[in-house]
Amino acid sequence: MLRPFVALISGLIFCSGLIVSGMVTPQKVLAFLDITGRAWDPSLALVLISAVSVAAIGVAIARRRKTPLLAARFSGPLRQTVDRRLLLGAALFGLGWGLVGYCPGPALAAAALGAPMALAFAVAMLAGMGLFTLFDLRVQAPRQAA
């Protein structure tokens, strides 16, 4: 029961960070992405730098350990190489992100607060994830069996 509890705390802290930094506001995200705009807002870059710096401390602590505190192993990403899936996926994500200024975390946070557009976005996003999972199972499963 400890692992889900830690995950809950982690989720709470993560979303608090999104709220404190203002990243739940799509206009603020878009103001960062609009690098040639008159009202360019570099805040998101600082959020990212700060988040990566603190997360890197966690990575450094983890490097000194064989296992996580509460689990048998570190479950990092399995894929290791830069491939077409990664680049195409990142491009599709960037397109959707740039169109409205929601990425998954802020969209879920705004949806929880009942923002109608965020709810629509979250439902569409979950549908996209579900569609992908269905499609991926159909394409990948025969390949792996072969």
Binding site: A7, L12, D34, L48, G98, P104, L108, A112, F121
Partner: protein
């Protein structure tokens, strides 16, 4: 740069990093929102409990913030419902195909100096910047 909020950006970013550090050091898991939520849909296995708990934390934090009397930020994107739905589907498919979003690649991956995350973050930032440039300065929405 009237809207620049450096202090809250650094403070909020530190909380996001702390969350990622806790999940990695304690549970050995990557704090990537799209991966955690996507995995919730993909499988009802033993991983379900922690994924659901993390997602519950993401959804509960704004409600607690509001209950505590926090001022509600502007949550509406400057886009039509159609564009919002198209963008949502693109983000859903893209983050699963590309194995991550701003949190998984942008925060956790860069903290691990992962070449895949560096490439993904570069691509989604570039495409997002290009998308905003075209929609705001060329098409002129």
């Amino acid at each position: 740069m009237d809207n620049f909020t450096p202090l809250s950006a650094i403070g909020g970013g530190a909380l996001i990093g702390l969350s990622a550090a806790i999940l990695w050091v304690a549970n050995g898991r990557v704090a990537g929102i799209s991966g955690i939520v996507g995995g919730l849909i993909a499988s009802l296995n033993a991983d379900f409990a922690w994924r659901a708990a993390f997602t519950a934390g993401i959804l509960a934090a704004p409600l607690l913030y509001r209950a505590a009397g926090g001022a509600l930020p502007d949550l509406a994107p400057p886009a039509s419902l159609t564009v919002v739905i198209v963008a949502g589907v693109l983000v859903g498919i893209g983050t699963r195909l590309g194995s991550g979003c701003t949190s998984g690649h942008g925060v956790c991956g860069l903290a691990r100096l992962s070449p895949r995350s560096l490439a993904a973050t570069g691509v989604f930032l570039l495409v997002a910047v290009a998308t905003v440039f075209v929609s705001r300065h060329i098409v002129g929405v």
